[in-house]
Subunit: 169 residues, 4 copies
Amino acid sequence: MSQGDAAGRPRPAPIPAAALPGAAYRASARIRFGDCDPAGIVFFPNWFALANAAIEDLFRERLGIDFHALHAERGIGTGFVHAAGTFFRPGLMGDAVHLTPVLRRVGGASYALDIHIHRGEEELARLDLVTATTDLASRTSVPVPPDLRAALLRYGAACGAAPGQETSA
Amino acid sequence: MSQGDAAGRPRPAPIPAAALPGAAYRASARIRFGDCDPAGIVFFPNWFALANAAIEDLFRERLGIDFHALHAERGIGTGFVHAAGTFFRPGLMGDAVHLTPVLRRVGGASYALDIHIHRGEEELARLDLVTATTDLASRTSVPVPPDLRAALLRYGAACGAAPGQETSA
Amino acid sequence: MSQGDAAGRPRPAPIPAAALPGAAYRASARIRFGDCDPAGIVFFPNWFALANAAIEDLFRERLGIDFHALHAERGIGTGFVHAAGTFFRPGLMGDAVHLTPVLRRVGGASYALDIHIHRGEEELARLDLVTATTDLASRTSVPVPPDLRAALLRYGAACGAAPGQETSA
Amino acid sequence: MSQGDAAGRPRPAPIPAAALPGAAYRASARIRFGDCDPAGIVFFPNWFALANAAIEDLFRERLGIDFHALHAERGIGTGFVHAAGTFFRPGLMGDAVHLTPVLRRVGGASYALDIHIHRGEEELARLDLVTATTDLASRTSVPVPPDLRAALLRYGAACGAAPGQETSA
């Protein structure tokens, strides 16, 4: 049986950390005891929580966008409309991992990132995340704010074309 | 821009609860304060945690398989190799939701389920989960245990063919 | 060595479920795979998350106060200023547990509850939680809203005096 | 009303970071979007999860004890029998915090730590944690392993006497 997704597509193959764009931002994290389940490995929803933390780091340290202020002061939400993970190898308690976001596209009111999670050179998980920007008060779609759009496009350009990446306004 | 996944596929459309297989198992859950984020909606990794709880309920109440014993006594892991969520509408604190697992396929050493999460008739989220069965001690792939395979196939047969569903030994 | 708290006080002794006030509200929950850690038992912060869920149930089903509306519409926070847990026995994946809140006191701008967590007759954990009511916008202390105060006092009176319980306006 | 604990004791007062033992280990963490609740502040169980992560860091970076191997290879559990938190000020999304563990005592089969959580000089939370060492297979009490005991006592001696601290074999 293929272990692909609902549509039977083949699952992606892991890539070594060395194959990631050299200019990509790389967040560091450590797998915690509390992230792991009775099987001794990362409870899979926690991969997504780690990825969200990496995006917060990307915003603060690379994009220069205050994730907190974006939500709390500007009233812009960055909720996900799609989130997929392919899990290649289990993460274990104590593992030091790196999370590398690669911009896949920026649309009118959404953007998409892949997050590669590596332990050393070994890719443990690949997350495919699509964010839609919303007005938090009305919970309706709003355009990606211009400063965020510009920062994302700069980041995407610095990283160069990832396989399958497309950026469009 | 399409809000589809990495490959640019269109995202699935929500279906009303009434369109689910009548014989499908339906788990109940409530969205908790602690499940929600500063945007006031379910923090997306928690949708996956809720889905895992629904699978535990499915095992216990419908499949007749002791999820706990499977792990702790029989040493069989049911970790995920793929997990995708499409989020149609935000879940809010206090919402009563139903989670309906639909079997998509059973393979030699894995099986795939969709979990539909509804609030009333409205589908809030659709999760696409692929589990690989493993030996917990060696962390290597093992065949789906015969009792679990039989129970899954019985469940799938009772529910009838879901759109796109295929079952194979 | 005593296993008491920072001040060296003896730790409380577990009581059977039968010793709880007969009129007390009892919330049901199940210990999930994802609540447990690599030691196979409830990761201790999750006891507090389960307790918070039980308080939400108490509000909705017994006090008649909409916890969600209290926060989202009335702008009243019910954050904790103190939270203590004594853990008697580990909770295991799959366990059905009951959480019984017992009001300890209602003050001007705060109230205190004990939450007893039982598996059958066996008390697994006892939580001691002190909530301060706040204005969410200014994050300053506000009196316990009259409807909540009245509901808490009614609940406390129905349950009768718990050991060490005091209620005061 | 006092906001003290079940026994009506006054709650501890926050201390500035400068008042902590100079030799104490200091773990760094950041408050994440996903750690916060609809009130926009740290959901209180997550303070305990952050504290557990700080203890893992203390073990690895200061005590020289492999927390992972202790559990997974040596079969020793370090579960909590008591955990209390006093919350002085809310933690907000994006906050950089420091967690400073101070050893309070080492007993025959348990040890107690305070964890002070500061944002800059301001103490946000104080946690009082009592760990009992157990044999994970039988879930019974075992003596604190000699290497861990020695490391804890060395750490306690380096930090000097904290207010109320006592160490005993």
